[in-house]
């Protein structure tokens, strides 16, 4: 019974790994066949092989752009993490500040960043504007999730801290922040993907040529030049970057919570 169950679980795990790969392979195959059979020219739809070879041949241009976009993304993410967590802590410590500022955090969040980006580009140097866009999109989930976490502490534990004469700082540092960690990490996981989106949106809006041009700019530029294979190659790189960011943040979250939080603990029996 037990061995059977283990075998079943193993089969399921292998299936879970194989199925997406199989779907990908099938998709690429269909794509390739469609291009070949219909003899679609590469400036309309390049074949997967051509995208791959473009990725290799244009690697020097694309990798430089990738680095630019990644740098913006990482900076935007870090600022969002610091800003989101910092604001959440500030809101938690002072109702006055929370009531004064929270509506504006929401406004920043609900105003589409595509619409803000052109304005920012007028007032700020391009790099700063792109960074601010990445930050605007990414900080809110960190703020909202951390706030939720800071507000959902165990009230008996809070009483216990009070009973033993804990200072405000001790309550924050030793009770509230550890309690909020799971939600905080969930917010950071969302923010990672969003800061990439923010950076891309701002680059597209910026659109102008320059030495420090990111991947999104490459996509726009390639579009104007009808260099469709390069568009696809850049898009592919963006997706991979997004996936890597997500995986890294998930791993970080798991590492932080694996000892104690239900979400990261595998159940036995």
């Amino acid at each position: 019974m037990n061995g059977e169950q283990a075998a079943h679980e193993r089969r399921e795990r292998v299936l879970r790994m194989l199925l997406p790969v199989a779907v990908l392979a099938l998709g690429v195959l269909v794509w390739d066949l469609v291009v070949r059979l219909n003899q679609i020219p590469p400036y309309i739809l390049p074949s997967p092989g051509l995208v791959l070879s473009t990725l290799i041949s244009d690697w020097s241009v694309l990798s430089a752009s990738l680095l630019v976009t990644l740098e913006t993304t990482v900076q935007g993410f870090l600022l969002a993490a610091v800003g989101g967590i910092g604001l959440a802590v500030l809101f938690n410590q002072s109702r006055l500040i929370e009531h004064s500022l929270y509506p504006y955090a929401v406004i920043l969040q609900v105003t589409p960043v595509v619409a803000i980006a052109p304005l920012l580009l007028i007032y700020l140097p391009q790099e700063a504007a792109v960074l601010v866009c990445a930050w605007i999109v990414a900080f809110f989930p960190v703020l909202a999730n951390t706030t939720l976490g800071l507000n959902s502490i165990d009230y008996n534990l809070a009483d216990l801290f009070r009973l033993y004469g804990a200072s405000r700082g001790q309550v924050l540092w030793r009770l509230k922040l550890p309690s909020a960690l799971p939600q905080m990490l969930a917010g950071l996981k969302i923010a990672g993907g969003l800061s990439l989106i923010g950076a891309v949106v701002a680059e597209i809006a910026a659109g102008s040529a320059g030495a420090g041009s990111g991947l999104a700019y490459r996509i726009a530029e390639s579009g104007y030049r009808l260099n469709i294979p390069r568009m696809f190659a850049a898009l592919l790189l963006l997706s991979v970057a997004g996936i890597v960011i997500f995986v890294l943040l998930s791993a970080f979250s798991h590492l932080m919570l694996r000892r104690w939080h239900e979400s990261a603990v595998s159940r036995e029996g």
Binding site: L157, L160, L163, Y164
Partner: protein, 259 residues
């Protein structure tokens, strides 16, 4: 009705509590807790026994009346055990037990022997580095008790600590609690709605009425051996009957009538 076992360690004088919602949790409570005794507050739910405990602990301010501490240092020698184990899931067992010490600024190395001593008292010395989620409900409650003991409190306040545990675990913890009380010579105020638990543990049972909560009757339990044999003795059964009747009477007191 009550015997004088020592001078009072804390006394509630005409203590009342009205919540912001208008609910009268405590009517007018007079209660002396004497040094070294084991006293239970027994009553139906809503009789304010937990509120009384929180007021003693200083976690809640009385709406009227006073809490007197005839001796010296009041609050920092209190241990509190909640109905839930109330452990920090992100900290190890040792980390949880060390909390009262580290909040007071004791450094880790100095706290460690006290933590191990407290854990040894509850039989969990081998689990110092485990996380709460790895423990059973009974073991978590033991950790909670160890944390309350780590400051060597003179007064241990317990708010229905074993209510959520199964009977076998509860009996075992009752036995252990009696042993700890004897060994450490502390004062225990134990809130419960279980007649059997209160009779087994206490020297004195304070039966309370509900809405508003106040003392209905006090019962002294003069039994020497509190062990497995006591639990099945006629003496125990007799006390349980008396306490049950008192509780039934207390619950039957019409709302607002004088006790």
């Amino acid at each position: 009705m009550t015997e004088a076992t020592g001078k009072p360690i804390v006394a509630l004088r005409d203590v009342g509590k009205v919540f912001a919602t208008g609910t009268v949790a405590l009517g007018s409570l007079n209660l002396d807790v004497r040094d070294g005794e084991f006293v239970s507050l027994l009553g139906p739910s809503g009789c304010g026994k937990s509120t009384a405990l929180r007021i003693i602990a200083g976690l809640s301010e009385p709406s009227r009346g006073t809490v007197e501490w005839p001796g010296e240092e009041p609050r920092h020698r209190i241990g509190f055990v909640f109905q839930e184990p109330t452990l920090m899931p992100w900290a190890t067992v040792a980390g949880n037990v060390a909390l009262p010490l580290s909040l007071a600024g004791t450094d880790k190395a100095a706290a460690r022997p006290k933590v191990i001593e407290a854990l040894t008292r509850v039989g969990l010395a081998d689990f110092a580095d485990a996380y709460p989620r790895q423990l059973s409900g009974g073991m978590r409650m033991r950790v909670s008790i160890a944390r309350a003991l780590v400051t060597a409190p003179r007064l241990l306040l317990m708010d229905e600590p074993f209510a959520a545990l199964d009977e076998i675990t509860r009996f075992k913890l009752n036995d252990d609690l009696i042993a700890l009380w004897r060994e450490l010579g502390m004062t225990v105020v134990f809130v419960t709605h279980s007649v059997f638990e209160s009779v087994f543990l206490s020297q004195r049972i304070v039966v309370m009425t509900a809405r508003p909560g106040r003392v209905f009757r006090e019962l002294a339990i003069d039994a020497a051996g509190r062990d497995a044999r006591f639990r099945t003795s006629a003496e125990y059964a007799g006390y349980c009957r008396i306490a049950s009747e008192a509780l039934a009477e207390a619950s039957a007191v019409p709302l607002g009538a004088p006790a």
